[in-house]
Amino acid sequence: MNTTEKIREIAKQLLTDKKVDLVVGFAQGSLPLRSTPYFARTPEQADNLIWSATCENNLANFVRKRSDKVAVIAKGCDVRAMVALIKEGQINKDNLTIIGVPCQGMIDRKQVCEAIGCQEILEATDNGNELILKGKGFEKTLAKEDVMFVSCKTCQYNTPVIFDELIGEALPGKEANYDDIAAFEALSPAERNAYIAKEMSKCIRCYACRQACPMCYCSECFVDCGAPAWIGKGAQRVDDNALFQTVRVLHLAGRCVDCGACERACPMGIKLSLLNRKMVKDVKELYGAEAGVNLTDPPALSTHKFEDKEDFML
C-alpha cells in the first residue's frame, strides 16, 4: 500500500468511527506539480486525499484555534509548527490527531521552472527519485533532490517529532547545515544590505508570507495598525518592506520552525528564508534552542536560566 492509500485508509477509519470531525490533508491540485489543502469531513471525501512531493503548504495553519476534533496529515515541518503552537496555547492537543508522514522533501516549482527554461509544464510524473516533465515540444527528466526547496534540503526533522500514527518508515535525521547563512554572514555589511534591498524591492506587500506562516498569528499585525502608523503602507519604499520583514523575523525569534512556508508562498520569489534562517541559527547558537522539536522545552525567548550567556551585556 502506498502512502496515499494508507492516508485514505486511516482518514476513512477516523471519520467512520467518528473519532474526528475533520481530516486536514492534501488533494490533487488543478495544475501540474500542485497539490491543494483539503478538508475531508466524510469517509467518502477521504478518498480525495493524496500524498506527493508537491504537498508543500504547512497545514498547521488550518488547525490553529479550532474547537472541533481534527486529524491532520503532517510532514516534519508541519508537526514542528504544531508543537510550537501547542506550547503557545494555540492548539488544544487533546483535540488533535497527528498522522505523521516522513517527508523526503517537497518540489520547488521555481527551481523546476529555471531548470527547464520556464517552459510551461503540461504534465508531470513522479517516478520516485525523478520528475518527468512534459510540455509543448519538450520532455525533461529532473532529479527531485536537485529541485527541492532549500528548507527541505537543510531540514533535520524529516520524520515528525510527535505523532499519533506514522505512515511508513521513519527517516534518519540530517546534520544541521547553515552553509547558506554562513555565506551570507561572510558578506560585508554593505553587501548584505544591498542583497536585502534587492530582494525587498520585489515585495508587493501582499502579506502571503505572513499569512502562510503558521507562527504569524498576532490578532493585529503592526503593519495593519493605522494609529499610530508604525510603517508606510505602500510597497514602493524598499526600507518599509525591509522593516516589515525585520519585525516579522524578530517576532519569530525562537519561534520560527524553519519550514520555509513564507518563501514558498511569496509570489515574487523573494528569498525570505534567508532572514528567518539567520535568526534560527542565532537562537541555536545563543540559547542552544530550536523551536518545535519537543513538547517540553519552553520557547527560547519566553524563559531565562541563570546560566544564560550574558556576553551581550556591558
Partner: protein, 334 residues
C-alpha cells in the same frame, strides 16, 4: 503593415527619445513592465507579466499630492502625471482590463483625474498570444488571445515578423510616422488565421452566471469555498481588474503627501470600521465579496465581468485555490 522583429529594438529606442516607453522586461527572474530607454531591454517573448498592466495607469502606490504647512497657510502641489507614454507589447487580457477599469475611474459619480490623465496620454500597443498558457481562460471572459479592444496598435507574431494593425486614430497616426512597409496578402492571411483560430480554454461558461450568483448570497456554497484560503492578497494584487485602494497621509513635521495604495478585499482591515465592527469578519464573507464583485456586482453596474482570464490568480495562489474550479462549482449547483 509589417515589421521585422530585429527592427523593434531600434524603433523603441527612437520612440523613447520622445515618449516614456513602457515594455515588459526581464528583471530578477520576473517579467515586469518597466520604463525603458533602450529597446533591447524589451522582452516580448513572455506569457504574462508577473504584475498586471493596471499598475501603469493605477500604480500600487501613488502620491496624489504633496503639502506643506507654514505660518502663511497650507500649500498643496498635485502630482498628476501628464507624460506622453507608449506601452509596448501588452497582452490582450491586460489591455482589456484597462477598458474595464475605465468604468471605475470615470462614471456618473466619480472622475479620477490621476488615472484619466495617464489614460489620455498613453498609447497602447497590444500583442496577441500565439500560445496561451494552460492557465489562460480569456476566451471565456469576453476577451481572447487576439482581442483588440483597448489597443491603439495591435501586433500579431508571424515568426520573423510582426503583422501590425492600427486600431484607433491615435495608433494609426503613430504608425503613419513610422513609415513601415505593407504586408503581403500571404502575411495578412496568416495573421487572420492566427487571430481567428487561437483560443484559450473556453471551458468556463459565464452565461447566466451573474444572475445565478445574484440569488446565492446566503448559499452554503460560501461556507467551504474559502476554507483553504490563507487570506493573503496575492490574487488581488496580481489581478489586472482588482482596483480597491486605501488612502493614507504620510507626513513628517510640516511636510507630507497623500498616498493612494492598493488594498484588498481579502484583508480583514479593508472593511474594519472605526467602531471595531467588521461587516466581513471572516474568509467566507471576504471570498464571497471577491467572487461576487467580479462576476455579479461589476456586471450589474457596468455590464461586464471583472475578470479577463489571465490566470495570474491561479498561478500565484499559495494554496492553489483555482477560480476556474470555484466558477465551475457555482455552475454545477442546483
Amino acid at each position: 503593415m509589417i515589421i521585422n522583429k530585429n527592427e523593434i529594438a531600434g524603433i523603441l529606442t527612437k520612440l523613447a527619445e520622445e515618449y516614456r516607453v513602457i515594455a515588459p522586461v526581464k528583471k530578477d527572474g520576473l517579467v515586469q513592465y518597466a520604463a525603458i530607454k533602450n529597446g533591447e531591454e524589451a522582452c516580448l517573448d513572455y506569457a504574462n507579466t508577473k504584475k498586471p498592466g493596471k499598475e501603469i495607469l493605477f500604480p500600487q502606490s501613488e502620491e496624489l499630492f504633496n503639502y506643506t504647512v507654514s505660518a502663511e497657510g497650507v500649500r498643496m502641489q498635485d502630482n498628476v502625471d501628464k507624460e506622453a507614454t507608449i506601452v509596448f507589447g501588452m497582452r490582450p487580457c491586460d489591455v482589456k482590463s484597462l477598458v474595464l477599469l475605465d468604468n471605475v475611474f470615470k462614471n456618473d459619480q466619480y472622475t479620477d483625474v490621476y488615472y484619466l490623465t495617464r489614460r489620455a496620454n498613453t498609447l497602447i500597443v497590444g500583442l496577441g498570444c500565439n500560445e496561451p498558457a494552460s492557465t489562460c481562460f480569456c476566451t471565456s471572459m469576453a476577451c481572447g488571445p487576439f482581442a483588440k479592444e483597448g489597443s491603439d496598435i495591435f501586433l500579431t507574431d508571424l515568426g520573423e515578423t510582426y503583422f501590425i494593425e492600427g486600431i484607433s486614430d491615435k495608433g494609426k497616426e503613430l504608425l503613419a510616422k513610422l513609415g513601415l512597409s505593407a504586408a503581403s496578402e500571404e502575411q495578412k492571411a496568416a495573421a487572420a488565421k492566427l487571430q481567428t483560430e487561437t483560443k484559450a480554454d473556453g471551458s468556463i461558461n459565464i452565461e447566466g452566471l451573474a444572475e445565478k450568483l445574484g440569488g446565492m448570497f446566503e448559499h452554503p456554497f460560501w461556507d467551504s469555498l474559502h476554507e483553504k484560503c490563507l487570506g493573503c492578497a496575492a490574487c488581488t494584487y496580481l489581478c489586472p481588474t482588482c482596483h480597491c485602494f486605501d488612502i493614507a497621509d504620510e507626513a513628517k513635521d510640516c511636510e507630507g503627501c497623500r498616498v493612494r495604495n492598493w488594498d484588498a478585499c481579502m484583508f480583514p482591515l479593508f472593511t474594519l470600521h472605526g467602531s471595531g465592527h467588521n461587516p466581513r469578519p471572516g474568509g467566507k464573507a471576504r471570498w464571497r465579496q471577491r467572487l461576487m464583485h467580479k462576476f455579479n456586482y461589476f456586471v450589474e453596474r457596468y455590464n461586464a465581468t471583472a475578470c479577463v482570464g489571465c490566470g495570474r490568480c491561479i498561478k500565484n495562489c499559495p494554496v492553489n485555490l483555482d477560480i476556474r474550479q470555484a466558477l465551475a462549482e457555482v455552475r454545477a449547483l442546483d
